[in-house]
Symmetry: C2
Subunit: 343 residues, 2 copies
Amino acid sequence: MEPLSEHTAKIRDVAARAGVGVATVSRVLNGRAHVSDETRARVLEAMQALDYQPSSVARNLSFRRTMVIGVVVPFLTSPSAVERVRGIVAALSPSEYDLALFDVESEDRRRRAFDIFARPDRTDGLLVVSLIPDAAAVARLDRGRIPCVLVDGAHPHLPHVVSDDVRGGELATRHLLQLGHRAIALIGDKPPDPYRLSGSRDRTTGYLRALGEFEVPHRDEYLREGTQSRDVAQTIATELLQLPDRPTAIFACSDDQALGVLAAASDLGLRVPEDLSVVGFDDVEIASYVGLTTVRQPLFESGRVGAELLLEALAGDGDVESRALDLELMVRRTTGPPPLPGS
Amino acid sequence: MEPLSEHTAKIRDVAARAGVGVATVSRVLNGRAHVSDETRARVLEAMQALDYQPSSVARNLSFRRTMVIGVVVPFLTSPSAVERVRGIVAALSPSEYDLALFDVESEDRRRRAFDIFARPDRTDGLLVVSLIPDAAAVARLDRGRIPCVLVDGAHPHLPHVVSDDVRGGELATRHLLQLGHRAIALIGDKPPDPYRLSGSRDRTTGYLRALGEFEVPHRDEYLREGTQSRDVAQTIATELLQLPDRPTAIFACSDDQALGVLAAASDLGLRVPEDLSVVGFDDVEIASYVGLTTVRQPLFESGRVGAELLLEALAGDGDVESRALDLELMVRRTTGPPPLPGS
DNA sequence: TTGAAAGCGATACCAG
DNA sequence: CTGGTATCGCTTTCAA
């Protein structure tokens, strides 16, 4: 046994020990043909003996690829973002690709994310979660020929995976309608700005569509878009529930908001679902704890599918198709028939 | 404006356009001295014009470093692991380092994680969460001179950040003791195997120590180590609560287990905290929802500190010291005085 | 089937 | 101050 050199073995060390040229070592390394079995065996043995591991940096410089997939995700604070990332991790784990995570908490970092990541020498492909790259970023991606898949966000030029939010809004509202409710309010996010998503807005569309189906006219004072926070949702719900003609059901466009609604109801001494029905959206873990009826988004699934799409694009170097994932209504304990008119 | 070439600009393109040598471009790129202001300006202008971005792969090959920090984490499924990773992400965001995430869900991937990641050409440093690298991995790390910090796990040769679990066990148990409880059971994980952590075991030590302080003899039938799952904890709790001499309080070594205990109590018609007090460990998000009294681990903090330690090691190339983070008891609604003997 | 040598895109030494 | 050139570790022609 020769003494272990201070540094790890390089390809030329292997070549020397096996008594061959580096090109040959490279060939067996990459499983290329045109190497005699005998030579191959000798090389393999040398690699073994030296505990040789090719340098991925050098290899990437040659191949002109990085073997890393960048994941840009805003608000890793939110449970749903985490779920999506988990789906991505799961799909990428068996692949050869590494996962580089870039968390975007501010507008500034959003910009940096694409400056840094959207370059061919940094990533072979990009997964963007709950965020829409701006025109400059898309141009950069294009120029670098970096495949990019959007998870939870649509873009005309980029393959994406979204959930069918219109349908989700319909699902929730129709459930309430079928229960007999006619006074149904909606608490939703503020209308989308260019860089964010229109998901929540689509839910409103579904809500209106379901109302239309049942020929229930919609009432402006019941339509409250404008918040993402639990606290604000609570305030809005409190207002709603003190209306002379208060709604018997509230559809909140996120579970977080629904939790605010529940708090408001509790403060006002309203029982759920006897006095008020509540439907959320997302099905975060807490939802099942509080028995919240909600629309489950395939969060994990969306990440998984997004990653698979990207892997496909990377492999087949052809374009891949966008996907809309199905939503599911989880009926639990916060919805029931409306209170009798007299009570 | 000349037409944009198909591929991105290289250093020699910049050199050519600025009418200088590549060495000079490299100098201004790295902010080195020995470049005249005038030349520097010309180069800068050329870089601007060409939208030049140096190739990090090439640069890493030259510098012989990767600028990535590997994060090995088992069970990204668990909320506490996610919290720790969030802390890591937060600490690494402002740094120049990229974050490569490696999720370990199986023994096989655990092995692969270190085979793949513990190499100097892959990562400049490693952060290992809730996992102890085996001897082979440590040797590899050593040989490659890759700094490695353990988060939530101790090792004699590696700097690490842990929470003081013995103290946590004491905190929880002492709280119960002070409330007047004398029949206190413990539900904990199974004793540690070599690759996992002894954290939960330490909690048992703290439990025993607190009992000792109050001169309460411990009873074997109250000491139930052996599970990590909520369901099994529920089964065990059910057994415990049907003992002729049932405990008046249960200390569960994780919130998940505590949730199982709560379910068992509810099934048995026992009121919490009137008939039974329950303390958990971790303070996951749901804990505050169900009002669970628990020991808060500084999860996010542990990740942040771990990452900072690693950054320090990377910068100062000196060894860094391990840290023990403080625990905090969150008293909520699942603990109270024990029921009167007569009732 | 094999090896020598020319890239890949930067850094850094050594002359000038 | 500046530019040529060897170097980092691997892949890939191109001859032999």
